[in-house]
């Protein structure tokens, strides 16, 4: 912790999932003062979501594989001086220009780390708290994870249609299911994990519907051979699905949801290798919920707002371009985990630790090298290769738009239909997602285009490869005007003034943390 409230932290870590935890703990163990901000009450991010301690879950790990590395990080966090700030929704990271000279550490912060940075957050369970916060840091590690990519289809706005990751999150933290018979559909390895958790928790899963074929992985034999743990993971899920008699339908998609006010059934249709639905192959499956997702999208808007360089991934998403030590193109700003391309919790831990070591080296003005760094880099490169193979295998085919009807909502927030989007493209000449947005309002709602953005970009490309979508959201989360007004207030609260609960209790049995 900084010696005085006005002194910046050595490192602010944004996101307390696998990457952020590993980075925060590694940097703190090397002597840095670290603040760890996260929207949630507990650490773990989306992957290691757990029921609240008051749920008294004696086996929270029953809903997770690979639990022990997380338990280890939690123990190390509890032993460290890391300042864990739960319920902090970071809406912007800026160069702390007005912070210069206001604190005794400000001048010093302009040293080797080129800081300090200002991290702006709103607080509370959903960011609605009346207490905006600004904290200063010499270096920043972005570990903001990812959210689920969605593609629209007729009926996807009906209650009972939920994100696959969403169903998983609600199950892990709230111990609830969206229905009794839940079809799992979309594309990506997450579907298998979600289906096996739902089935283990008592849901009947009539089918897992995957639009790609798993044979596509065979095009990347070296990445497969180098990552046997991934094959083992798939086997565990596969065996669980067999045990629960869940049928996996490859090269198929849910092309329609039936029901008036909630899900009653879905139509599953075969798709060709471009995901174009094959006529006459539709089959109705009765269910009361559908969990759907098409892979994950790196959450990088805090970085793109600062001008960080990005790179397109084989699955059409955009990730941050990072150097060998996880630094972005902006000096003093690191990133780890899904922000550099979706690759899972194990990769995120390796990258987080690497970034933590690199930030510590910068702050302490020492070179970052040595056996541990080389080992982490080797592990990262091996797992990154697999992540690339995975992204290529589950890249949405351009034919998916074949299942849209003109009245299908594409933008859930603004209720913009596929017909309106088509009109903007075919009649009004829109060629990219931004122009479609200006003409139709698709992507202008509460979610800022997170749900419809990938689909709109794909539709605007009209069958060609969509231009990589670099989302720029100057406000990463909605911010009340009162929080903006408080920016000029010299008495802007700092987390240190709040009497926050310090780092969570951590390793106590019962799943807290």
């Amino acid at each position: 912790m900084p010696l005085s409230a006005s002194e910046p932290y050595d490192l602010a870590v944004i996101g307390a999932g696998s990457a952020g935890l590993a980075g925060a703990v590694a940097a703190a163990e090397l002597g840095l003062s670290v603040a760890l901000l996260d929207t949630a009450v507990h650490t773990g991010g989306q992957f290691y979501r757990t029921p609240a301690p008051v749920m008294g879950a004696v086996r929270p790990e029953a809903l997770h594989h690979d639990w022990s590395p997380y338990a280890d990080l939690r123990r190390r966090l509890a032993r460290s001086d890391v300042r864990h700030l739960p319920g902090h929704h970071v809406w912007s990271v800026t160069k702390d220009v007005d912070g210069e000279g206001t604190g005794e550490g400000a001048g010093e912060g302009a040293g080797p780390a080129d800081g300090p940075w200002a991290v702006h957050a709103v607080t509370g369970a959903d960011g609605g708290g009346e207490r905006p916060v600004r904290l200063r840091a010499r270096t920043v590690l972005l570990a903001t994870g990812a959210y689920e990519r969605q593609l629209p289809f007729p009926g996807w706005t009906l209650p009972g249609v939920v994100g696959a990751g969403g169903a998983q999150a609600m199950l892990k933290s709230g111990l609830v299911l969206p229905g009794r018979r839940v079809v799992v559909a979309g594309s990506g390895p997450l579907l298998l994990a979600v289906a096996s958790s739902l089935a283990a928790a008592g849901a009947r899963v009539p089918a897992v519907v995957e639009a790609s074929g798993y044979l596509r992985y065979a095009r990347h034999p070296r990445a497969l051979v180098a990552n046997p743990h991934k094959a083992a993971e798939a086997l565990v899920h596969g065996a669980a699905l067999l045990w629960h008699r869940v049928r996996v339908r490859l090269r198929s998609a849910v092309t329609e949801v039936h029901g008036t006010d909630r899900v009653e059934a879905v139509t599953v249709t075969r798709v060709d290798r471009d995901w174009r639905p094959v006529r006459g192959t539709g089959r109705r499956i009765e269910c009361d919920a559908l969990a759907v997702g098409h892979g994950l999208v790196p959450q990088i808007e805090l970085a793109t707002a600062l001008g960080c360089t990005t790179r397109p991934l084989p699955d059409g998403t955009t990730a941050l371009a990072l150097d060998g030590l996880q630094e972005t193109s902006v000096h003093g700003l690191w990133a780890a985990g899904e922000t550099g391309g979706v690759g899972g919790a194990q990769l995120a831990r390796a990258e987080g630790e690497l970034a933590g070591i690199a930030a510590a080296a910068r702050v302490l003005d020492r070179p970052a090298h040595g056996g541990r760094v080389r080992e982490l880099q080797r592990r990262r490169d091996r797992m990154r290769a697999f992540a690339g193979a995975m992204a290529a295998a589950h890249a949405p085919g351009p034919g998916w738009s074949g299942w849209l009807t003109d009245d299908t909502d594409v933008c859930r927030c603004e209720e913009v239909t596929a017909g309106q989007v088509r009109e903007a493209i075919e009649d009004l000449g829109a060629r990219d997602a931004r122009t479609v947005k200006l003409l139709t309002r698709a992507g202008m709602g509460w979610c800022q285009g997170r749900m419809c953005g990938p689909a709109v970009a794909c539709l605007a490309a009209r069958g060609r490869a969509a231009e990589p979508l670099v989302e720029r959201r100057p406000f990463a989360v909605p911010v009340p005007l009162s929080a903006l007004a408080a920016l000029d207030d010299p008495a802007m609260p700092r987390p240190d003034d709040q009497g926050e609960t310090p780092s969570e209790p951590g390793a106590a049995p019962g799943g807290d943390g």
Binding site: V54, G163, D261
Partner: protein, 104 residues
């Protein structure tokens, strides 16, 4: 084999408590979000859209999609998947932007 999520993780939650949804009593468990409590009661929709008045509820489950907006204790536009349920909470279906009283 577990029949419920709570059995699967061996949950021994504290005593359940009551919240209301549009005046109807709903039982919640300590530690559940408002959305989880509503799902637990089989309720999947607690908002109608601004345009066509269609029902919506939790979709992304992690606070990204804003489809789960609800009016909680009179305050509209709260993300039900993030806000913890508390004893006595009154959840009401949010119609449109939830601020009809302002006349906008």
């Amino acid at each position: 084999m577990a029949r419920t999520p709570a059995e699967l993780v061996g949950a021994q939650p504290g005593p359940p408590f009551q919240i209301t949804f549009d005046g109807r009593a709903v039982t919640a468990l300590p530690g559940q979000s408002v959305a989880a409590a509503l799902w637990g009661a089989g309720i999947l929709a607690w908002r109608t859209t601004r345009g066509s008045g269609r029902p919506r509820g939790a979709f992304c489950g992690i606070g990204q999609c804003y489809d789960c907006l609800a009016t909680i204790n009179g305050e509209p536009n709260r993300r039900a998947c993030l806000v913890p349920a508390r004893p006595g909470d009154a959840i009401t279906t949010q119609e449109g932007h939830g601020r009809a009283a302002l006349g906008v």
